[in-house]
């Protein structure tokens, strides 16, 4: 499965009169995401277009210009502006030419949303059923999974996420962290190939945050899912992420590995990003102890300690 964005631009509001300028949330985005066991992060300051970009992948928004293609072995989905409101992603050759209108193929939209699960920034807002179990089953039922299978799937996911004791409770009595877990379980129950999470760690306590991220890593490794995170937390990027995409004012400023990103000071500064805590600490040590040979780009505390010992050893010897 692969996601391909070519020359994608998006504006929430296109003024009818030409004298008013169009405010682009995304501008000429080219992006290729090959779906393999990978964790990808979209980073950037607020208003940079991260949330808009992920909504395009889920067909919740349609590009104002350009096209989004999502392909796997069985199906291919094409999202373009002309299909907006038609809720269809069919190839152009199947048009009824005399009508100049595409044929609505509504089931395909659901099929796309089943493959690409999107967890919003405050997923607790989407919870509405009487019990946690029913709420987790809501997604699979929409995707025409039988009640028995949906129940089985919900129980499995609850077990994986460690919320089996909450299944019979009302979701409105849960804490913020528990609600978020329930909401993520609700998306996972549909068994998507790609899981997109919009700032999943905001407002979570450190323990819940670590548990959630660890769970995502397991999900990626065990079930071969592609995880896309939107985050501002550079510690999360440093520890868990393999590929980073940096956005600024609707443009992609950087697309590559985290190791190279933190070496590019100009991008870090111009995009209002921060260094991970360990890197910042290593930079401070390097400056204070005057250790030019110290490799500051360490992303785990053990690696940082080892590097520090090595460098200090070399320093003493010299």
């Amino acid at each position: 499965m692969a996601i391909h964005l070519s020359e994608v631009s998006f504006a929430y509001d296109v003024p009818k009169r030409r004298k008013y300028p169009i405010v682009w949330s995304l501008k000429d985005i080219h992006l290729q995401i090959e779906l393999k066991d990978e964790m990808i992060a979209f980073v950037g300051h607020t208003g940079s277009g991260k949330s808009t970009l992920v909504q395009l992948l889920n067909a919740l928004l349609y590009p104002t210009k350009g096209r989004v293609e999502i392909k796997d072995q069985k199906e291919s989905f094409l999202l373009e502006k002309k299909f907006k409101h038609q809720e269809q992603i069919e190839e152009t050759k199947k048009y009824r030419k005399w009508l100049r209108k595409p044929i609505p193929v509504k089931f395909k939209l659901k099929s796309l949303r089943k493959k690409i699960g999107l967890v919003f920034q405050f997923p607790e807002y989407q919870i509405f059923e009487e019990t946690v179990l029913k709420d987790i089953m809501f997604g699979p039922k929409n995707f025409s999974v039988s009640s028995e299978d949906a129940l089985k799937r919900a129980q499995e996911i609850a077990n994986i996420m460690g919320i089996t004791d909450l299944l019979d409770q009302s979701p409105f009595t849960l804490s913020g962290g528990q609600m978020r877990k329930v909401a993520i379980a609700g998306i996972l129950a549909s068994n998507p190939d790609v899981l997109i999470l919009d700032e999943p760690t905001v407002g979570l306590d450190p323990k819940t945050k670590a548990d959630l991220l660890q769970f995502l890593v397991e999900l990626k490794n065990k079930f071969h899912k592609t995880i896309i995170l939107i985050t501002h937390d550079m510690d999360v990027v440093a520890q868990y992420i393999e590929r980073v995409i940096v956005l600024k004012q609707g443009n992609i400023m950087y697309d590559g590995s985290k190791v190279d990103l933190f070496k590019q000071k100009d991008i870090i500064e111009s995009c209002h990003l921060d260094y991970p805590t360990i890197v910042s600490m290593m930079m401070y040590v390097q400056e204070k102890l005057n250790l030019p040979s110290l490799n500051v780009y360490q992303y785990h505390i053990d690696d940082a300690m080892r590097e520090l010992e090595r460098c200090l050893g070399d320093h003493h010897e010299s």
């Binding site: 889920n58 089943k114 919003f120 807002y125 989407q126 549909s190």
Partner: protein
């Protein structure tokens, strides 16, 4: 999602009507509305309508937007006129030259058959020209009735006559002029006054009434908070809609039962969010010292200017002139 969403009809502008104090605008418009019901002479009503249009032009409101505000009421206006013309049988039948405005219809089997065909055409064509569906219905209806006047092929079921009487014409014109004037006046107010200004205007008008002051300040606060939160809740509803859509909820598909159950997935989170927000806001307001009904100072103090004085003077002469004319000439 439109992030610059402004609730109400307010259009940004800077003409003299915009600069008037909201209290002046509300009082003047209120008395002008009353004057519409004092007067029954057609020409005076027409004069008032012309005057209102001059006001609208001088306010420099975008004309197409102004005319669109009639769109919602056009159906009501249309049916009111039709009922007045059909069922008011007082006075004489109107004559234009030697021709009487009286039409005789003949509902024959053929016209019923043609009616069914026209209905079929409406349903087939209506799907493709969705935008002009209402116009199409109107044209087909006119055609249907016109055919009844010219087709006299037997067998015939009912023969009936519709005549337009003088009284019907006058009362329909009166109703038309009054409704259009009322709509124009209210549009003039809402187009040139922000909802928050309207609110403070209401509060200001009732301020001198001591026994109402407390309730009016609470009411004004409630109104301004409600108006302030409409765009916020709209944005929230869009977010929930998207969140549920990403879980496979389809708000456009399925039968009524399925649609209702999908709507519940939107409504319950909306209620939960609204209550949470209301509670948080109430606590935050109390934490910052707000006590309902207590005297508060205002950031924007409403002040009358020269133009307000001129407007009140005009209102005085206009209204008293109308009352005097009503007494003397019975207009």
């Amino acid at each position: 999602m439109n992030h610059k969403m402004v609730f109400g009809q307010y259009v940004d502008g800077s003409s003299w009507i915009y600069r008037l104090d909201p209290r002046t605008k509300m009082i003047v418009l209120f008395f002008m509305m009353i004057s519409l019901f004092i007067v029954s002479n057609l020409f005076v009503l027409l004069g008032i309508l012309c005057f209102i249009f001059i006001l609208v032009l001088s306010a420099r409101i975008p004309l197409n937007q102004f005319l669109q505000s009639f769109k919602a009421m056009s159906l009501l206006l249309f049916f009111t006129l039709i009922f007045q013309i059909l069922f008011n049988h007082e006075g004489k039948v109107i004559e234009i030259g030697s021709y009487e405005l009286s039409f005789s219809f003949d509902l024959t089997l053929l016209s019923i058959f043609i009616g069914v065909i026209l209905l079929f055409i409406y349903f087939v064509l209506g799907k493709w020209i969705h935008k002009f569906r209402f116009t199409l219905l109107f044209v087909l209806l006119v055609l249907f009735f016109y055919l009844q006047t010219i087709l006299h092929v037997k067998p015939s079921f009912v023969q009936y006559t519709i005549s337009i009487y003088t009284h019907a014409f006058y009362s329909a014109s009166r109703v038309f002029l009054r409704i259009v004037s009322l709509l124009s006046l209210s549009a003039l107010l809402t187009f040139t006054t922000k909802p928050t200004d309207l609110n403070s205007g209401i509060e200001g008008i009732f301020y001198p009434l001591k026994f109402l002051r407390r309730y009016m300040s609470i009411f004004a606060m409630m109104m301004s908070i409600a108006l302030r939160f409409i765009p916020t809740l709209f944005n929230e509803s869009q977010k929930i809609l998207k969140a549920q859509a990403s879980r496979g909820a389809d708000f456009h598909e399925g039968n009524l039962k399925q649609k209702t159950s999908q709507m519940i997935s939107l409504l319950i989170p909306m209620f939960v969010i609204s209550y949470k927000r209301a509670e948080e806001l109430a606590n935050a307001m109390e934490a910052r010292g707000y006590i309902p009904g207590e005297e508060r100072t205002s950031l924007h103090i409403l002040k009358f200017h020269l133009m307000d004085g001129i407007s009140f003077l005009f209102l005085f002469f206009f209204f008293s002139g109308l009352i005097v004319s009503k007494i003397i000439w019975g207009i």
